[in-house]
């Protein structure tokens, strides 16, 4: 099932090659302080005339879902101002799909600088969607692609398109095909779930009915590690998402928790207790050798690698309460970063290495904060509810986190400056411990 979902989308071929003149043009400069939103029109996708009546009917139903996904993605990108459909002049049934067939004057008249059109086809279990993106001013097609996906998850098809569109317009990789891992106990046991970046398409990927905790992605996005009690005690497991093969990565006496892959994927930082206090270790996945990093009476947990792999941010209570520290792996020196707050936890190093996000509680609820890796510039990002477990999107522009009130938890996404907080609807409920995948394309 997992395997199917992971491999169901194949980008087959360019339907039409991208016009060379358009490639070099960056439409939207993300580094500009006030990037202007591009006014865009999205015409309802056509149902291909080549399919029979029955499949055409199911394709019609798909149109709504595709449109919903597309609008949701474009809105999330923050790049577009979507012009309401009621303003459109063009009759979608009669209008053509190519540069020469489109009367761009009609689109400019409603204020659209850009236009998206598409065709939907259904062949057995396959969903085929052709999507085109036009510049209404130059009257040129900028992107034209055919996507072949599965009828069981039409949203993925659109995410592939939005990734491409985003990269085309900004010169940066999109995060629309990325995924989330999270924990939910809604079926009676804490299990690991995986969803799209927007919380949709959620599937349960562990089904062992024990306790499963703190999932983490491998840098290749094809494997995950997580803590599981499936063999009785808290061990670190690795699940290959392609094959479904599950193995114990670390099953030493005591706790084997908080595993985090090094950026090169060769090592895992984790906490082991054995007959000592919970200490940080690095496990070399090739040699299976453990190297101890901390040695004190207290608790050392939740390591987060710096993107260059030379440092670990982590939580320690050596100073009395849980605080964030950074350990230099070359020198072995640890530096304390937080001095305020009663409880500091869940450090997460940003992909560009410039910030560490973490959750902090002073008297009661937790909130998400960011600071520079030297501990300066601490800034509070959330102010309502109890917010924990921040995890960066691979482009560093967003954070996913869990937010709880009265014991009920759900997932939220916000921009890295704390603005644009939106609740994710996974349909699962009780979501905790979210982690954003690396780029999966």
């Amino acid at each position: 099932m997992i395997k199917r979902r992971l491999i169901l989308i194949f980008l087959l071929f360019f339907l039409l090659s991208v016009a060379e003149s358009a490639v070099a043009k960056v439409y939207i400069d993300l580094s500009a302080p006030q990037a202007k939103r591009l006014p865009i029109a999205i015409q309802d996708f056509k149902i291909s005339a080549s399919v029979d009546a029955e499949t055409a009917e199911s394709a019609k139903g798909l149109n709504d879902e595709l449109m919903d996904t597309l609008k949701s993605d474009l809105k999330f990108s923050g790049l577009f101002n979507i012009i309401d459909r009621s303003a459109y002049i063009e009759d979608p049934k009669k209008a053509g799909l190519t540069e020469s067939e489109i009367d761009f004057k009609q689109w400019r008249a409603v204020g659209a600088d850009a236009l998206i059109k598409g065709v939907v086809m259904v062949e057995k279990d396959s969903l085929i969607v052709e999507v085109r993106f036009f510049d209404c001013v130059t009257e040129k097609q900028i992107i034209g692609k055919r996507y072949i996906g599965s009828l069981s998850s039409p949203r993925r098809v659109i995410h592939y398109f939005t990734d491409q569109l985003y990269e085309e317009l900004t010169g940066r990789k999109g995060i629309f095909t990325t995924r989330l891992l999270f924990i939910s106990d809604k079926d009676g046991n804490k299990e690991v779930y995986m969803s799209d970046y927007d919380g949709k398409n959620a599937v349960k990927i562990t089904k062992n009915r024990s306790i499963n905790l703190s999932p983490q992605w491998a840098p290749d996005g094809k494997r995950i590690i997580y803590v599981s009690y499936k063999k009785g005690s808290p061990n670190l497991h690795m699940l290959d998402l392609r094959t479904g093969k599950d193995t114990v990565v670390s099953g030493r006496p005591g706790i084997n928790i908080g595993g985090r892959f090094s950026p090169d994927g060769a090592k895992v930082a984790l906490t082991l207790s054995g007959d000592k206090s919970p200490e940080l270790y690095v496990l070399d996945l090739n040699t299976e050798e453990y190297k101890r990093l901390t040695d004190n009476y207290g608790i050392d947990v939740s390591p987060s690698w710096s993107p260059d792999g030379t440092k670990l941010a982590y939580v320690s209570d050596v100073s009395g309460n849980p605080h964030i520290f950074v350990l230099d792996l070359l020198s072995g020196n640890a530096k304390r970063l937080t001095f305020n707050g009663k409880y500091n936890s869940s450090p997460a190093w940003s992909p560009d290495g410039r910030l560490i996000a973490w959750s902090r509680s002073d008297t009661g609820p937790f909130n998400i904060w960011v600071m520079q890796p030297d501990g300066t510039g601490a800034t509070q990002l959330t102010f309502e509810g109890s917010n924990r477990s921040p995890s960066w999107s691979p482009d560093g522009r967003y954070l996913v986190y869990s937010s709880a009130s009265r014991g009920s938890s759900s997932l939220y996404i916000m921009r890295s400056d704390g603005t644009g907080q939106i609740k994710l609807t996974t349909g699962v409920g009780g979501e905790k411990s979210p982690v954003w995948s690396p780029f999966l394309q």
């Binding site: 079926d187 009676g188 046991n189 804490k190 009915r209 306790i211 905790l213 703190s214 803590v227 009785g232 005690s233 808290p234 005591g254 706790i255 928790i257 908080g258 906490t271 207790s273 206090s277 919970p278 608790i299 050392d300 947990v301 939740s302 939580v315 209570d317 309460n321 849980p322 409880y343 936890s345 869940s346 959750s359 509680s361 924990r388 477990s389 009265r406 014991g407 905790k432 411990s433």
Partner: protein
């Protein structure tokens, strides 16, 4: 989930017995003088405490029903008693547990008030020298998942060390941390949290 189906009838039975036994409260009060306050508070929550550790044979619960249905002073169970009808032996017979100890928020040191419970546990283990126990460390829900797993580990290990210092052989003791994952009280207030920051003793082997 499956496990609870097995336990559910027992829970109902226990609740019925507890409700039907008018003298239970009295008996508890009678022996409360011997037991530390924390332990007597624990014994008031009969239905919840019947949820057994995963590896404990269900048959032990059946035996426990025999005992709690009878007089509290009944002797001649499978364990040696510290005194006729003592609370600790009753807990061991009925729940497969010893006295639970509790902790302050984010702390893993043994509280002074719990030393008596642990002394009794040690004494009892001395008397029942074939019994093996697993010490299960727990945390309340307020901290982070991973930190709480470490906290539960520290709590269980500190209790284990305390018992070892009192002469119980290490081979009879084991530990596991459940972090915040198995609360004794599902509530979201200090009253619940104080009951959840604990180390429980589960009898894993009686001979």
């Amino acid at each position: 989930m499956k496990r609870y189906y097995k336990v559910l009838p027992l829970m109902l039975l226990t609740m019925t017995l507890a409700a039907g036994c008018g003298g239970k409260k009295m008996i508890n009060e009678d022996i409360a003088g011997q037991a530390p306050p924390a332990a007597s508070a624990e014994s008031d929550k009969a239905p919840q405490s019947v949820v057994v550790p995963e590896d404990k044979p269900v048959t032990e619960d059946v035996k426990s029903e025999d005992l709690s249905g009878g007089a509290a002073s009944k002797s001649g169970g499978k364990f040696a008693s510290l005194a006729p009808g003592d609370e600790l032996t009753r807990v061991a017979e009925s729940k497969g547990q010893l006295f639970t100890v509790y902790f302050d928020f984010d702390k893993y040191n043994i509280r002074d008030g719990d030393r008596e419970s642990l002394s009794k546990n040690a004494k009892w283990l001395g008397l029942n020298s074939s019994v093996k126990v697993r010490i299960e460390g727990h945390a309340d829900e307020r901290g982070e998942t991973e930190y709480n797993l470490a906290l539960g580990d520290k709590r269980a290990k500190n209790v284990e060390k305390y018992l070892e210092d009192m002469g119980i052989k290490a081979v009879r003791l084991s530990t596991i941390s459940y972090g915040e994952e198995k609360p004794a009280d599902p509530g979201h207030d200090e009253d619940a949290w104080s009951k959840n920051r604990r180390a429980e003793f589960a009898i894993t082997s009686a001979n």
